[in-house]
């Protein structure tokens, strides 16, 4: 589903972050990527999302080389097939929860009937008319998860989604995320520092200077 | 603002200097300009009281009174009162009551040894609205609140007051008129048209009041009046004149003048000495000689005046001594005229002979133009 073929990327100032990165991910996989700070986890996510282009190599999503698409085509691809979950939630403060969740549907010109169901799925039944400022951090991330999955994306990218949350809430959110990704049949990539978080994935990859390597982790549950 | 004022005065000064220039140097060419004005001709018989009055057909006319006064505490004072009438030569056809056909100009000066310098002031105005005039028929001149009037009985009343000084005098004749030169036809130069009509009233007995710092002082004394009118009389070569009029202690009267030439020498001179019985002795130009004895340099104008003068009329030697040196009439700050007009005492052959006034004009070279 996702193929990384010999991807190279250096920062503007010349420091290499990703070198000869090659990896393939099957549809329906839910993988956690770990790695030291500065090793290029965020860069990798940007490349996968088509928000940045590799210096060389290719990234394919369902055989489409996203790295060679122009901005509009990449945006279109993201809109239809991607879902994003951020550490800082990034829920628009001036939209209601329902509106926030409906955003991807609106962008794709799809009917918004699924929003209520999705709200219920993430545990926010009947709160669609609330504004984000009325919510706690955990609740905000639930909204973000709903938004990321509402349009049944093929690939969900989560960047340290529990970084701003307390451990108990984090556990709930990770569980919810996994459930929702699996329920919606999406492929998931979870970038995290937390072993506990990584443990909720199907398997864990370690990003190092030499590339992506499987890592063994004890399942925490 | 003060600056403006001064500049305004400066313009005005030029104007008055001009008048003064005309007064002292009425040039021959002006005759041609003003054909409406009459020339001075010999043989005219002065008639009175008509000729006491103003003569509007002549360019320039003045009544000049100078004299010595004494306060009640016997302090001497000199005074000078002058009224000029001047025909502008303009506005002849102008029906406006403001039409500036004639100007009236007046000077008032007081020499007080206690003050040490001349106090003087002057005024000018156009004739009109009964605010300023010189009437024909009898002496009757007015400039705002300054007046000089000759009454029926021959007595002159002068009233001239200004901010801080002034005088109100009554002058009574004690002798008959003194017609100068050829029955009042007074030659001023070698050419016959260089002349004026000129009579004097010496030995006027003066009583009245002098005001100093607005305080009235009763005074009495002797004065000399000149009345002279002409259209043009000075030679273009003339530089200025020296003039003296004196009431002598023995009742006789002396008048002498010389008109100086630009580069030394004299254009004309004249003198007349009338004794108490009325006999007049005339002196021709060659018989009259002015010799400076002592000069005084004015601190105001830098002009050098021969304030002490030796005068010879025929055989007689006169010596003139000023009451005070600084009797310069320097009004460049207001009207611009500068001359020396001072009370003097006379000695004849080194004996005190009388008192009079000496006038020295044309000594400030650049006439402040």
């Amino acid at each position: 589903m996702l193929e990384l073929i010999n991807v190279n990327k250096a920062y503007a100032e010349g420091r290499k972050v990703l070198t000869h990165l090659t990896y393939a991910l099957k549809a329906g996989d839910y993988v956690a990527i770990m790695g030291d700070s500065g090793v290029g986890k965020s860069t990798l996510l940007n490349l996968i999302a088509g928000l940045d282009t590799p210096d060389s190599g290719e990234i394919r999503i369902n055989s489409v080389a996203i790295s060679s698409l122009d901005d509009d085509a990449a945006t279109q691809l993201r809109r239809e097939q991607f879902g994003f979950i951020f550490q800082a939630f990034h829920v628009l403060p001036h939209l209601t929860l329902a509106q926030n969740i409906a955003l991807p549907l609106l962008l794709n010109g799809a009917p918004t009937d699924r929003v209520e169901q999705m709200l219920a799925d993430v545990g926010l039944r009947d709160r669609g008319h609330h504004f984000p400022r009325q919510l706690s951090g955990g609740e905000l991330q639930r909204v973000a998860i709903a938004r990321a999955l509402i349009h049944r994306p093929k690939l969900v990218l989560a960047d340290e989604p529990t970084g701003n949350l307390d451990p108990d809430t984090a556990r709930e959110i990770l569980q919810l995320m996994r459930t929702e990704i699996k329920t919606n049949g999406a492929t998931g990539i979870l970038v995290t520092h937390s072993h506990a978080a990584a443990a909720t994935a199907d398997f864990v990859l370690n990003l190092t200077k030499d590339g992506l390597h499987p890592a063994k982790l004890e399942r925490s549950e | 603002m003060a600056e403006n004022k001064n500049t305004g005065r400066h313009y005005f000064l030029r104007f008055i200097s001009m008048i003064l220039l005309i007064l002292s140097l009425v040039a021959a060419e002006t005759i041609a300009e003003s054909s409406r004005l009459l020339p001075v001709v010999p043989g005219y018989k002065l008639t009175f009281p008509h000729d006491y009055g103003a003569h509007q057909d002549f360019r320039l006319e003045w009544w000049y009174i100078t004299g010595w006064l004494e306060t009640e505490d016997k302090k001497p004072l000199g005074f000078q009162v002058t009224f000029f009438r001047y025909a502008t030569g303009h506005n002849h056809d102008n029906p406006s009551r403001f039409a500036a056909k004639y100007l009236i100009i007046a000077h008032l000066a007081l020499s007080d040894p206690a003050v040490g310098k001349l106090m003087h002031t002057e005024k000018s105005a156009r004739e009109g609205f009964d605010l300023a005039y010189a009437r024909p028929g009898n002496t009757d001149v007015k400039l705002d609140d300054w007046t000089l009037v000759r009454e029926e009985d021959g007595r002159y009343q002068v009233d001239m007051r200004t901010g801080d000084f002034g005088l109100r005098l009554s002058l009574s004749p004690t002798q008959m008129l003194m017609l100068q030169d050829q029955n009042g036809f007074s030659r001023k130069g070698p050419k016959p048209e260089q002349a004026s009509y000129y009579y004097s009233e010496p030995h006027l007995s003066v009583t009245g009041t002098v005001f100093r710092q607005n305080k009235p002082v009763t005074v009495s004394g002797r004065a000399w009046l000149d009345h002279e009118w002409s259209t043009a009389y000075l030679d273009p070569e003339a530089d200025g004149w020296d003039w003296v009029g004196a009431n002598l202690d023995d009742g006789s009267s002396l008048m002498a003048f010389q008109i100086r030439k630009k580069n030394g020498g004299k254009v004309w001179a004249y003198a007349a000495l009338r004794d108490v019985s009325g006999d007049v002795k005339f002196f021709n130009p060659e018989q009259v000689e002015f010799t400076p004895i002592r000069t005084w340099q004015s601190p105001h104008t830098e002009a050098l005046y021969p304030v002490a003068m030796h005068i010879r009329t025929g055989e007689i030697e006169w010596q003139l001594t000023p009451l005070l040196d600084d009797q310069e009439l320097d009004s460049r700050q207001s009207t611009g005229s500068v001359y020396w007009e001072g009370a003097v005492t006379l000695t004849r052959d080194n004996q005190p002979a009388g008192r009079g006034y000496l006038e020295l004009t044309g000594y400030v070279k650049p006439l402040a133009l």
Binding site: R79, H94, L103, G163 | S17, T88, H90
Partner: protein, 849 residues
């Protein structure tokens, strides 16, 4: 590390990071201060010069005696000269004489000629003594001599020794330029002649304009003035220099106050911009400040930090503004003259005087406003609980505190109340205050209105399938109204002022156009080159003109200036045939009148202009005495008419009454109606053929109308200029707030880009936000502007100029301006927001750098 250097780091860091916004803030402050300061400079320069020029004419006299009419008999002069206590009486004859060849310049074709007696004037106004050629001092008295100021020489293109032709009545006289008036003020266009000569040549024999008096030392001026006024009776008025200054001030006061008010409007708009820029800048950094608080900054330190920042901006901006204002004023005076092209102060050429006191005041205004803009949000930031402030989405709540609705309601109510109050010192102070309050109230109400409008729109449109962009835009505008309102404030202020001025000017212009049609009913108007108060046409010339073929009707007018009040400028008295059956056929009467049929037989009716009602308290039906004829006579006020020509008052009466009272049969103006088939050109040719034809001043009413409107337009040119500045300031506001918001919303845009919003969609969002906001601003601005225009038309104008007008709306123009505003605001928003799609935005969503 000392806290001072920390403070410095923070300050420079902020400015480095937001350099453009800092510059915009500086420009805003500078423009606001510059506009107000430059207008103040221009006004004071023009006024000072005008009054100095007037003073230089009247000199340093203690008292001046004028007649009720422009001229009086000279017999008063010796009387005054001989009055006890008078040291000097200086007679003056002052005339405005038509210069042939300058006639096309209707407002500016006269030369002021002052006739003086140099022997008197030297003591009072020595500057008026002409400088003659060397040695020709007596030229000052010569009967063909005229002395010209340098400006007059330049205007007339003559020099010393040239001859100068002037029109007097129906004749032309030729004078000799005998010299200059070197002490005349720069630009002062005057001529001086001997008073006797002037009386003679300008046919003013026996007449004077005034006598100036110098009193003797020790005379009590006030007591003397009272006594003299008493002795002279009602035909004369005695004034002091102070009265004179008051008259001049009165003459131009309404004009000056209006300009100053416009300057204040510019300052106000600028102030608002400064305020909003500062508020935005502080609000944007709420989280940063909260962090500083968390780190241990005390409230005190935080406040100090923000205020220091505001003060530095305020000082630099205000200084820039002073410099800019001075430069603008100097340029404007150079290019347009001190009255900015309105001809309000004719014949002066002022130069700017840098008044340090005024500079300090304007500097302080700029500084204080900037500081206020910083202090209000700084207080909020300092008071905010750091924990709450750290959360995003709280900015709008914080901003809501700056515009509580009760404040807006109070402002608007007080404004309404103020519209009902009378003028103070004849100035519409409350009217202007009402305008300011309307603006403040309107702006304060903006957030609520924006929220209502946009959520209403959102609800309304939700049943249709809305594009994502529009949904996002409307949701944001509806739910974050305070940030929107800040951007809108500038637009609202400038557009409403523009609408108000446009409506006012149009109403005025249309009213004037109607009025001109009414007051210029004839086809041709013929004037004799007037000098002084003489009617130029004697009986025989009147008859000659009346007998010319080709005219349906010939009317004769006699006009003159009459003084009713020492402290006020003269009023104009018109004597003309007024239709006896209905005065409305002759005069542009208001409804306030007595029907012509209802007039009693034995009274003399007059019709007064609106200014007479306001200034002199004249009421229809009252009887008043006016100084017409040898003594004053009683008249009945029969009606009120509109007069846009003379704000100091005018009275119309029957010509027959005038001639009976005064015995003056001359007239100044002849109105001619052409017969059918007669062309104006032919009629003018006929008139020119008359023996005195060359000296006639003939105008077609159509030309006069065109010219009047042209002058009107010129005098409002400066208004348009100020409006443009207000618009630029408004757009600057949009730019400032959008660029600030774009930064603040970086994460929002980053997220949107992540989830599949296209670059161009972000652009459309920004443009739509800007456009919608501007649209709302325009709609509200229109309502607000319309309300303000009502105040201008129905309160400010009648109270300051004493004339009323009808309301007219310039729809076409307003639509055009609205369109331009809309497009430029959207573009501005777009330009200011172009960072919203940069790479930084995408990175902004990451928190773990």
């Amino acid at each position: 590390m000392s806290s001072a250097s920390l403070s410095r780091w923070l300050l420079f860091g902020e400015w480095r990071a937001h350099f453009v916004q800092m510059i915009v803030a500086l420009i805003a402050i500078a423009i606001g201060v510059a506009m107000a300061f430059s207008i103040h400079l221009i006004n004071t320069a023009a006024f000072n010069e005008f009054s100095a020029a007037s003073k230089s004419l009247s000199g340093q006299s203690d008292l001046q005696v004028y007649g009720r009419k422009a001229f009086f008999d000279e017999s008063l002069y010796p009387l005054l000269a001989n009055t006890e206590g008078v040291a000097l009486a200086n007679p003056v004859l002052e005339l405005d004489v038509v210069v042939p060849g300058k006639l096309q310049n209707r407002n500016d074709h006269k030369l002021k000629i002052i006739g003086i007696d140099m022997f008197r004037a030297v003591h009072i106004s020595p500057d008026l003594l002409g400088l003659t050629e060397e040695g020709k001092t007596l030229d000052r008295l010569a009967d063909d001599a005229i002395f010209l100021s340098p400006a007059a020489m330049e205007w007339l293109q003559v020099k010393q020794g040239d001859s100068l032709s002037l029109n007097v009545g129906l004749q032309t006289i030729t004078l000799r330029v005998a010299g200059g008036l070197v002490r005349a003020r720069a630009g002062q266009r005057i001529a001086v002649m001997d008073i006797g000569v002037a009386q003679w040549h300008f046919q003013q024999l026996g007449l004077l304009s005034r006598v100036e008096l110098k009193l003797k030392n020790g005379v009590n001026h006030a007591a003397f003035k009272v006594k003299l006024t008493d002795e002279l009776g009602e035909s004369y008025r005695v004034t002091e220099a102070i009265d004179q200054e008051k008259r001049i001030a009165n003459m131009s006061r309404a004009y000056r106050v209006n300009l100053n008010m416009l300057a204040l409007v510019a300052l106000f708009t600028g102030t608002f911009l400064v305020f909003s820029t500062q508020v935005l800048s502080v609000i944007r950094r709420r989280q940063q400040f909260a962090l500083l608080r968390v780190l241990g900054f005390t409230r005190q330190q935080l406040l100090q930090q923000i205020i220091t920042e505001g003060a530095i901006l305020g000082v630099i901006g205000s200084l820039l503004g002073l410099g800019l204002g001075y430069a603008i004023a100097a340029t404007a005076i150079q290019l347009l003259g001190g009255d900015l092209g309105t001809n309000f102060f004719p014949g002066v050429k002022p130069s700017i005087y840098f008044d340090p006191m005024a500079a300090v005041i304007f500097f302080l205004v700029g500084l204080i406003v900037t500081m206020l803009g910083s202090i209000a949000p700084a207080l909020e930031a300092a008071r905010a609980k750091p924990a709450l402030a750290l959360r995003s989405g709280s900015e709008d709540v914080a901003m809501a505190k700056f515009s509580p609705p009760w404040f807006a309601v109070i402002c608007l109510s007080v404004a309404l109340l103020f519209t009902q109050l009378p003028p103070i010192f004849e100035l519409p102070v409350f009217g202007y205050l009402a305008i300011a309050l309307l603006l403040i109230g309107g702006i304060a109400l903006m957030p609520r209105l924006a929220a209502w409008a946009f959520s209403g729109l959102l609800t309304l449109l939700q049943r249709y399938r809305l594009s994502t962009v529009l949904t996002l835009v409307l949701a944001r505008l509806a739910n974050a109204p305070n940030q929107a309102a800040i951007a809108l404030g500038g637009i609202l202020a400038s557009f409403s002022l523009m609408v108000a001025m446009a409506i006012m000017v149009t109403s005025f212009r249309v009213s004037i156009d109607d009025w001109l049609g009414h007051v210029l009913p004839a086809d041709l108007y013929v004037r004799a080159a007037a000098s002084g108060d003489q009617g130029g046409f004697q009986l025989d010339t009147q008859k000659t003109i009346a007998e010319l073929p080709g005219f349906d009707r010939v009317d004769f007018f006699r006009t003159q200036q009459v003084s009713l009040d020492v402290n006020r400028p003269e009023i104009t008295l018109f004597a003309r045939p007024v239709d006896r059956t209905d005065a409305r056929n002759t005069l542009p009467l208001t409804d306030d009148r007595i029907a012509s049929g209802a007039l009693p037989e034995n009274v003399m009716p007059i019709w007064v202009s609106e200014a007479m009602v306001d200034l002199y308290g004249y009421r229809v039906g009252e009887k008043v005495r006016l100084p017409v004829g040898a003594t004053s006579s009683e008249f009945l006020i029969a009606g009120v008419w509109r007069d846009y020509g003379r704000q100091f008052g005018a009275v119309q009466m029957q010509l027959a009454d005038y001639q009976r009272l005064t015995g003056d049969l001359t007239v100044n103006t002849v109105a001619l109606w052409l017969q059918a088939g007669m062309t104006a050109d032919a009629a003018i040719a006929n008139l020119r053929q008359l023996p005195f034809g060359a000296a006639l001043e003939i105008s077609r009413s159509s030309d006069m109308r065109a010219l009047s409107l042209e002058i009107f337009d010129r005098s409002f040119a400066v208004t348009y200029l100020l409006e443009m500045v207000a618009v630029v300031i408004g757009l600057l506001g949009v730019a400032a707030s959008f660029s600030a918001q774009t930064l603040a919303r970086a994460k929002e845009f980053g997220m949107l880009r992540h989830i599949g919003v296209m670059r161009r969609q972000i652009f459309s969002m920004l443009a739509a936000e800007g456009g919608l906001l501007t649209l709302l601003g325009i709609v509200l601005g229109f309502v607000l502007g319309w309300s303000i225009s009502l105040i201008l038309v129905f309160i400010v104008n009648p109270q300051s100029f004493h004339w009323t007008m009808q309301l007219h709306l310039p729809w076409g123009w307003l639509t055009m301006i609205a369109g331009i505003m809309l497009v430029s605001a959207a573009l501005t928003a777009l330009l200011a927001g172009r960072q919203a799609v940069s790479g930084n935005v995408i990175r902004a969503v990451r928190e773990d750098w």
